[in-house]
Symmetry: C2
Amino acid sequence: MEEIFPELTQDVIGRMDRAAPRLREVMTLLVRHLHAFVREAALTQDEWRTGIEFLTRTGQMCSDTRQEFILLSDILGVSMLVDAIEHRSAKGVTDSTVLGPFYTGAQRELDKGDSILLREETGEPLVMRGRVVNASGAPIAGASIEVWQTATNQLYDVQDADQPRGHLRGTFTTDQRGEYEFRTIVPVSYPIPNDGPAGQLLQSLGRHPFRPAHVHFMISAPRYRKLVTHLFLEGNQYLASDAVFGVKPSLIVRPVRQDNNMTVTHDFGLAHLEHT
Amino acid sequence: MEEIFPELTQDVIGRMDRAAPRLREVMTLLVRHLHAFVREAALTQDEWRTGIEFLTRTGQMCSDTRQEFILLSDILGVSMLVDAIEHRSAKGVTDSTVLGPFYTGAQRELDKGDSILLREETGEPLVMRGRVVNASGAPIAGASIEVWQTATNQLYDVQDADQPRGHLRGTFTTDQRGEYEFRTIVPVSYPIPNDGPAGQLLQSLGRHPFRPAHVHFMISAPRYRKLVTHLFLEGNQYLASDAVFGVKPSLIVRPVRQDNNMTVTHDFGLAHLEHT
């Protein structure tokens, strides 16, 4: 295909001489790919205007409690790709996945075995337990485990005025054997917020907005790289079509009945921080 | 370079089966280039967040009178590229350039030779004249010529409460010989609105925000493709560094003294509409 107006791309890139080196590098790649996209798609003026209006609406949907550009990044797989670039998989280290927009900072500290519920839920009770270990499998005592999930109604506390703040959230600390344990309910699948441009795009693409049921974890310990991940449930109908592409096979777990409770037992492996 | 997480890109693209064909085509190319950009830049989480925040601020800067995403498109050369895709250059047809954000629709109809000023300006008087012709050079009678430019203070009427609305704007019609003529002032260079994210990006890249002095034209006639273009002035210091990449060599004109007035004589060539 004949390349249209190649000197334009050279001109745009050539005018970044005075930019800081990293900005120049990133913007050069951005302009190259953006122009290549426009050329290969042979984007029309009408399509360009549709894109401008879509991005404008996306920005204007953002508020203190809604980040529509992150949702857009999520549904196009960009968030997972950025995560993968910073967190290469390594033997003995748990795979990471997206943080998502519903992490709300440190929560109340709970004791091993406590429940993260602040009110009753109709969901089936679930015990989650296991260890935090290093890449060699040695236990890490005193690791912090933050967890969060939705209620049975598919909403996080911050999306639902009826839930007490902090419901289905909590912070635990591993004991001397690196063990953690808490009580919750079996998580449910839920749609990402789909009343804005990201949701409209999903619909236009013929995609559903659901995330497979999961519990979020953020695990940190001194001298280890912070781990942000989820655990998903085996057999969930959305595992292969998570709206934000967050599922990795190693993160799928199977609850089993144990001491009369549905129980997930899962160990998390942390990577040593490299000395830089 | 080892490609990180290639199956992610395939997964995103593979989930567009139910999209309309053109949307699927455009989004497939967009996702491919967006992911390739993120991989090649090895974008960090911090850089990704900076990008999300930049796009959010860009959307939130938009209002009824400000389109910051168009400005962003302009300064990255995307607007000119889209223009070039729809308007391939052809012998006898005037080159097009960007519409820009300051076109405000049809204006008062003026007679051949009239001035487009609604108040006095300190700028040097200028006569602009010539013909509208087809690609073979035959005159087109009854063509509509809409013109607009800034005042000497570098602002368009819509940016400046002190200017009467419609100042330095007007609509003319070519006579039986295809001729047009109007009186104005020599245009001045001006900065694009640079108090928002687009302006911040320009500054980070070490680029100035100026556009070389120009007069805008939108020329239309039945059975011809509408022409959107500018005329620039020879010798202007910003011709090689227009902030929006709008300059094409064929659009640079030289005013000459004629009948005691600085005069630009320029013919515009229109392309026949193809029968589709």
